[in-house]
Symmetry: C2
Subunit: 441 residues, 2 copies
Amino acid sequence: MSGSMDAGDGAAEDSVPQQPRQPPEAVATGTSRRGLLRGALLGGVGGLVVGGAGGAVAGRTLISEDSTDAVNLGTKYPFYGQRYQVGIATEPQRHCLFATFRLAPGATTRDLQVLLARWSAAIAVLQDGRSVGSVEPTSPLQPPRDTGEAHDLSPASLTVTLGLGPSVFGERFGLARFKPALFSDLPPLNGDFLDPKFTGGDLSLQACADDPQVSYHAFRNLARIGRGVVVPYWTVLGFGRASAGEGQATPRMLLGFKDGTRNIKTDDQMAQFVWIDKSDQPWLDGGSYQVVRKIRMLLETWDADRIGDQQEIFGRDKAEGAPLTGTKEFDHPDFAARDAEGELIINPLAHIALSAPENNGGVMIKRRSYNYTDGLAADGQLDAGLLFISYQNDPQHFIRLQNRLGANDLLNEYIRHIGSGIFVVPPAPEEGHYIGEALFA
Amino acid sequence: MSGSMDAGDGAAEDSVPQQPRQPPEAVATGTSRRGLLRGALLGGVGGLVVGGAGGAVAGRTLISEDSTDAVNLGTKYPFYGQRYQVGIATEPQRHCLFATFRLAPGATTRDLQVLLARWSAAIAVLQDGRSVGSVEPTSPLQPPRDTGEAHDLSPASLTVTLGLGPSVFGERFGLARFKPALFSDLPPLNGDFLDPKFTGGDLSLQACADDPQVSYHAFRNLARIGRGVVVPYWTVLGFGRASAGEGQATPRMLLGFKDGTRNIKTDDQMAQFVWIDKSDQPWLDGGSYQVVRKIRMLLETWDADRIGDQQEIFGRDKAEGAPLTGTKEFDHPDFAARDAEGELIINPLAHIALSAPENNGGVMIKRRSYNYTDGLAADGQLDAGLLFISYQNDPQHFIRLQNRLGANDLLNEYIRHIGSGIFVVPPAPEEGHYIGEALFA
């Protein structure tokens, strides 16, 4: 039985029953992966049994009642009166519904304008934790305005971020004069394995929240408002990205490694690399370019790879996330360090080497990625991976990085870039205005 | 623009910009759908701006810092030493990875036995919030035992429930003598629209947790442990089911109606309708029959239906969830009540009428359903619906209900049963034992 939990440690493969060995890191953190890093334990492990309907039957045991590892669904973000759209610098929520739309063949410039105005008004209401209209109209002859599945739900930190694709700035809508010089479709990139089903779109919508039902509700109701003008094109529901904010662990991708240790975290970095400022298109100042890639991961193959190889591919150790030249996650990698045999400790083709700012003229991108699963592939393998989303003030920053990674990254054996899109995210509107209004002045 | 948020209320369809009307129920609950139902507000709406990396930029506004609408990820459930498997009576978690597996053609009875033993040992460790083996083995030549993506995550209320399909009790494994008389494949049922891709399986795995990454990690590592013996067959990742426990609102399905108002909630009902007791197979006492149905919902069609029709179909009002003969969610429906014209107020073909215990010889089933989305269908429509899971001590209870609903339910115009499976869930093991051990005595 290859790849089993006891493979290679000499335990009898078929002894029945057996307990898995407790690994060293589980001992080090007590009986919970995370519990002892946190606040006071109440009642100790297994000491507090809570009753309630079915509780006595199910045997509910709390580690800690005041755990700080809780998700507060009461948080909400404002929509109006900010410089930047939310969902870019915002602390990452735990779920994301990313969708692209195509404009209907008959849609006019006026339709696009009205859509952006109506979407903006609806997003303001949704982020405030309200419905976009009555769930239960007084007249029995009216359909509900809001589809209702989030009627009792808290705001859950919802942010909806709207983007416009390059096609919006073609001749069709008379908007070519607003197109920034830097903005066009992504060129073919090294490592592309793109499926047209997950590639492109005229508009993008990123609905992130700490409750996936809130994200899905936002997408569904915005799609409904747009009916006749836009058609949903492709969507991904991403999950599992614990916040990387203060006091939180860096989230892990499905390859099991931490993702985001060296991500952009300061306002200074945001100003330098993410927010568009003083561009050839003043209406875009305060905006950003959004790149999305659907990256399938070949999990079964990866899971069979040995740890030494996995760590060489990333250039980090797996559990702690430290660079192979250090001992702690946030130690700075030393790409010049050599071992006793004179070999570079971090392989120059390791993922962190190829993508490091110091090896790319100082360039950084703001990543905001989520894990996803589409169930099983036709071949019975796990169909899952990373919904990669990045923000940058110059699309060339992403293009340069991905061309380098796509050509040489040791990781390429285990990933496939199957979806792609690029959009420009306008700045946030003032109260009484809407996203992209400057295009229709 | 049909179905838009302003359709039918006389607002100019193309006035730019416009704000959606604030519906009466939004006014009634203040500026949040849920906030004023909860604890003390700190700082009032919009009154508290929190800083931090990117915070000043993003404008983070908290409604309430001590909101009780929070998900505590520190909770964990025991595996050993209980009568019943967890994940049945357990308060529903917010996410669920449901998977079925097929036994490999060459798998022997001994392979099945070892698999159940190894899975049991691993589930005990996973529910305790630990890894199933080292994430980072000492030898660089070993693959990691645990895939690692949950390495830093809390237990998140994980419960893994294992089921055995009817095929396990065929002649192949010599286990026919353990097959209970009540247990066989589901017969063709009224309303079946089954896709073989989502139907059947030899074993089932229900991994529910308050963090989908914890659910997915459990499934993935158990699938890996089983490699060579079982092959994953179909999976659904369900979401969005807020707890229906004390003080919590009944969750809503994607049709926007509450789901579970009359669900089984007491230990007495569990004993009467869910737990197998004194059956012809004593090894199964403390078990239950698990039925799963993947039910696609035709959301666009539903969303265009008028509220009067939607409410007639369910027999309840949409916002509150009260039966049409009452005013509050938990009012008992009066199926004999007539209006001034002498018509039955609740249509006898309404969903709640056809499924009510009093109209089915008193029978109840324990439902444990989740919403799901598979993105977009080939026709561009939303591909989403309900992962219906029910538990009962007699499969005929489900068969009878579904045959009745499938033949006559007014809801059938808007739903399709596209996936199906039935499994028997053995009782929980004592420490040092494993699920299904009695089969191999």
